[in-house]
Point group: C2
Chain length 406, copies 2
């Protein structure tokens, strides 16, 4: 038996199930895979032997269509970080046990930085021990911070949601003729790609955000207040987009004053609250009407306004990862190489996962304007194609249909 295991990890996105569908399609089309299993809750499912048999789902094209447009990770997720196998072999042994028990030969892990670290370590472990398993990564992250891929699945859909929402908020805040500042906080701890995509609200001629601050540039309260005053002299109602991870020169987060001190399973500090901190700053220093808006989980879950480009690419990367594994590649990640902007053309390639794991691709500083409060035309050229196309979401009783695997 040549069976394939697939799992999903990290924070959910609107496109990660499209990649799962691509894996299932790739396995089916190849004719070389007998059964496909899904590990529940990422690598933890492989360790615990907690698998779902997806072989029937693989042949159900209608269910796959619904799954494509279902947000979040249908197989669940985890935030489990594998230890070095030289230090602690236990979980590696358990994974190999699961592989043997279910005749798994191929494993595709869909995820972000931390998941690519797992792919890297596991493929290394297999190679050192001469195990004949083919381990491939398939990228996903709304943050778009994965190395060696032009962009990451999930990002385009989140960018489309953000651009649309910013355009709608711009309409909303423009109705009163009084000085007011609306500050929108967008995901991105160290990488400002999502915040940059707020500028796409301008693609049809609207003003979009009046000011944009990415986490790549040091934030300065005085400069921010000056920026606001300057813009407000021309236009009373302002819309400002900020990355959740904006930091001062000393490295402290703008959101620190709002922080609950809570940490996630990886020990990362929750850093939400930048917009609320700035709301207080504007209230104290300018005194006009001011409101903080957080796009929060909606920006990664809003599958109802997914980017068709993103969903198609996400699916094809799942297929690509399977094809690579079947062709004997291991320790690699399926990736996107951009061939041209106009017309937009990409190729699907595979890259060494060791160069992806634990790297973060941040926004090039020269894609931010010298004033540090907007993005350049180069950034716009990069972003524009990624939100093109509307998906074929099916509605039932007024809301989108979702597929649940458990």
């Amino acid at each position: 038996m040549n069976n394939l295991l697939v799992a999903q990890s990290g924070g959910p996105t609107a496109a990660i199930n499209a990649t799962l569908v691509g894996v299932l399609q790739g396995a089916r089309i190849s004719g070389k895979v007998d059964k496909v299993y899904g590990a529940k809750n990422g690598i933890e499912g492989a360790i615990k032997g907690n698998l779902l048999d997806l072989s029937d789902l693989m042949k159900d094209t209608q269910a796959l269509d619904t799954l494509t447009y279902t947000p979040s990770s249908a197989l669940g997720s985890c935030r489990f970080k594998m230890k070095d196998w030289r230090v602690d072999e236990e979980s590696y042994k358990k994974i190999i046990e699961t592989f043997k028990k279910y005749d798994i030969k191929y494993f595709v892990y869909i995820g972000g930085n931390d998941s690519m670290d797992t792919v890297n370590k596991l493929s290394e472990y297999c190679s050192v021990n001469n195990y004949d398993y083919y381990i491939m990564g398939a990228p996903k992250t709304v943050d778009n911070d994965l190395n060696l891929t032009d962009h990451s699945p999930g990002f385009g859909s989140a960018a489309k949601y953000i651009a649309t929402t910013i355009a709608e908020l711009e309409r909303d805040i423009s109705v009163y003729d009084i000085p007011a500042v609306t500050i929108v906080e967008i995901m991105g701890r160290n990488a400002g790609w999502l915040t940059a995509s707020s500028a796409l609200a301008r693609v049809n001629g609207g003003p979009g955000p009046d000011l944009i601050y990415l986490c790549e540039k040091d934030f300065d309260d005085d400069r921010f207040i000056e920026d606001i005053k300057k813009k407000q002299a021309v236009k009373p109602g302002l819309l400002v987009a900020v990355s959740e991870g904006i930091k001062y020169k000393d490295g402290s987060y703008v959101s620190d004053s709002m922080s609950s001190g809570a940490v996630d399973n990886f020990g990362h500090k929750y850093i939400a609250g930048a917009a609320r901190a700035l709301e207080q700053l504007v209230r104290n220093r300018i005194g006009c009407k001011v409101r903080a808006v957080e796009l929060n989980l909606m920006q990664r879950a809003a599958a109802h306004i997914g980017s068709e480009t993103d969903i198609i690419e996400s699916t094809m990367l799942g297929q690509k990862a399977v094809n690579c594994a079947l062709n004997g590649e291991t320790g690699k990640m399926a990736a996107i190489k951009r061939v041209s902007n106009n017309p937009y053309r990409v190729e699907f390639i595979s890259v060494p996962v060791s160069e992806v794991a634990n790297h973060e691709k941040t926004v090039p500083l020269d894609w931010i304007t010298p004033e540090g409060n907007d993005v350049t035309e180069e950034m716009m050229e990069y972003l524009r194609p990624l939100i093109i196309g509307e998906t074929n979401v099916k509605y039932e009783n007024g809301i989108p249909k979702h597929l649940r695997l458990y």
Copy 2:
């Protein structure tokens, strides 16, 4: 000349421009209106004589189509409350001046409670002074709290956004196998209709919110913590929907501890922060992972996921208001009367605006479950038809096309 003036007021919605389109269509189809003017920033535009000539727009069907799906108030808005004309006649005189200057005979004011108060006072003023003007109101409010209409334009689209978002958030929070509470704050100061619509996330079989708290029922911290513990014993990840206006028995807002003390132009206190207050409560009393999410301005601006039922009804209410004015009605509001649920059928009627102004239609207490943490089947029957149908939003360059009037 028989000219018509139209204006928009109050908080924007995803459907208020559809009503404006209905007014323009109604005026055109009637053949009895020479020119249509729009007052900028609501009644303030009528007072200041700040009008836009909409006569060309009236004939531009393509522009009207785009305007239908453009969120917020294309003519701007205001939060101006007219004083009693017996006390201060000044603004009334100015409005009459504007009417005379532009040969206005009909005036349609699209808005919520406060706007209907303006319609009421102005029509009364005209009648006492024997002025031959016909003043009609057309309803709008995401809050759905207007009296004498089965529901209000804008509510169905907001409800569709909320139901869809809650269904997507449910998928998002379900991926980890650890105890966690996500608390979603939904608009509604005194009326819980929007929060109730979170239950529509269940229409396709999904679980929707695990707990729902409307502002109509006294909130109790201890009972809330008990509810959470009980649910968490069965299911680790919980989704909770709360009205921004939930209050304790003593009348204080749950959000009070989070309040900045800021007030809006009507002197209403900003009450956002209920979910964040409860986030801290859960962190202190239960200690599990917890996150507050505010649907904020998005829930009233998300025209990209408008309800077709809502948009069509909103348009027809605009037409109805014009027809009533042309037929000599004044001091009335166009309204919706529900004829049946299944099949869903409505009639468009006119109601005395004096009985609409300054009333708030809250959720009947027997549409909330006895435990106070969910809604009943009666509520679901009321809500279900209102989110049916997807709108024909046109996308350009990846985001919805909007029309700007100034």
